[in-house]
Symmetry: C2
Subunit: 236 residues, 2 copies
């Protein structure tokens, strides 16, 4: 390849990577704002998060567009191909993080129509944990740090533990006071959405590991499913 | 291109397309079996569906692998590029359909530990509707029928309507008899998973439309979100 072509090529790869980092930043704020909205019962902020989701979708399309162009024109292989593929896949995961944040925000608008429920702290601490995971995995991507990615990956179980505790807590609230069933049902989904954002952090961690080392993390790490979190049959 | 290369190329494209159709078939059975498991309270079938998910994941990796190879070696463009991209993207959607079916099956195992709840018919009719959508969109893919894809796409609202009705119904059950809160919470997620399978049918329909016509369906069709389905604040 002539030198200017090589330069343009590596610049395109870098631009792709920056676009992923930029998108990561937008998804991160959307998520933390959606959490702030639910914790502070801030309907206006919730509306803002919903409106901002279009920017995240646009960023994903832009990444895909760049990735396709790179593959079509540059025929990347080995490390370069991994850069293109991981950017593409991380874009897909971040788009879903954005969707989940939007969904939390939408539910917040409904939850705020009911009387407040004293679950703020549990949601807040679970959300904070997931936010830290998201930030950590985006940092791992930017610094191409496979070890940090493995760290995020292995912490996913902690989010699941938070989720299972919250699931039980919500069910208890509903049983104690049936008037809370409506808002608690929405909070169940908020908790689930946070847990799923944790799953996407794990996916991104796998991509970072693949990008840096060329190797896949083992997919089927043991995972505590929330479906085991139901109170035993017959319990009130 | 020499003739034998052209032939091999078009055979690879066809093989990719067949792999998508095959994967679609597996995802379809997984989904209908997960529905049968929940409706018939069949824990053994639920376990089978969970175990089978690995096959769907494998199929997705195979499709991605073929798509990457085609892009790297054949540099497809125009219609060929659309074939590769749509197969890749449909593979991602089908993998999630498989995940959602697995999740329905996992929850079925828990739900079956409780006394039966008389919601079978609502779940069954919603599930049947989503199954028909999935079959229709896979047929549209196989026959490259953009009009049929638009049909699926525009019926997604009907699944949302089903879901909203079921959401309300479940909340009513929980309010009437707090002992049903545990299983109903899991059924809420079953219903949500069916609704999300409907969303993936819509995504696949968009891909079929793009594949056949080269044009995107408008993304932001008005959608009734389940978040509007809460009973008004204060309702018992």
């Amino acid at each position: 390849m002539p030198e200017h072509t090589v330069k343009a090529y590596s610049e395109e790869l870098e631009a792709l990577s920056s676009e992923v980092a930029r998108m990561g930043g937008i998804a991160e704020s959307a998520f933390s704002d959606s959490l702030a909205a639910v914790v502070r019962r801030d309907t206006r902020l919730a509306r803002e998060v919903v409106a901002r989701d279009e920017k995240i979708d646009e960023a994903q399309r832009e990444i895909e567009h760049r990735a396709i162009r790179l593959m079509a024109l540059r025929h990347p292989y080995a490390n370069d191909l991994r850069q293109v593929l991981s950017a593409w896949r991380i874009g897909i995961d971040l788009e879903r993080v954005g969707d989940l944040a939007k969904n939390i925000a939408k539910r917040t608008k409904v939850i705020n129509e009911f009387d407040p429920i004293d679950l703020t702290q549990s949601i807040e601490s679970m959300g904070k944990f997931a936010s830290i995971q998201l930030k950590a995995v985006l940092d791992a991507y930017s610094s191409r740090d496979a070890k940090a990615a493995v760290g995020v990956w292995s912490h996913d179980e902690d989010i699941d533990r938070h989720y299972n505790a919250l699931f039980r807590e919500l069910l208890t609230y509903m049983m104690e006071d049936p008037r809370t069933i409506g808002p608690c049902a929405h909070l169940l989904f908020v908790a689930k959405n946070i847990e799923r954002i944790g799953d996407h952090c794990t996916n991104i961690a796998e991509q970072v590991h693949y990008l840096v080392t060329g190797e896949e993390l083992i997919r089927d790490r043991p995972k505590r499913g929330d479906v085991a979190a139901a109170p035993p049959a017959g319990e009130p």
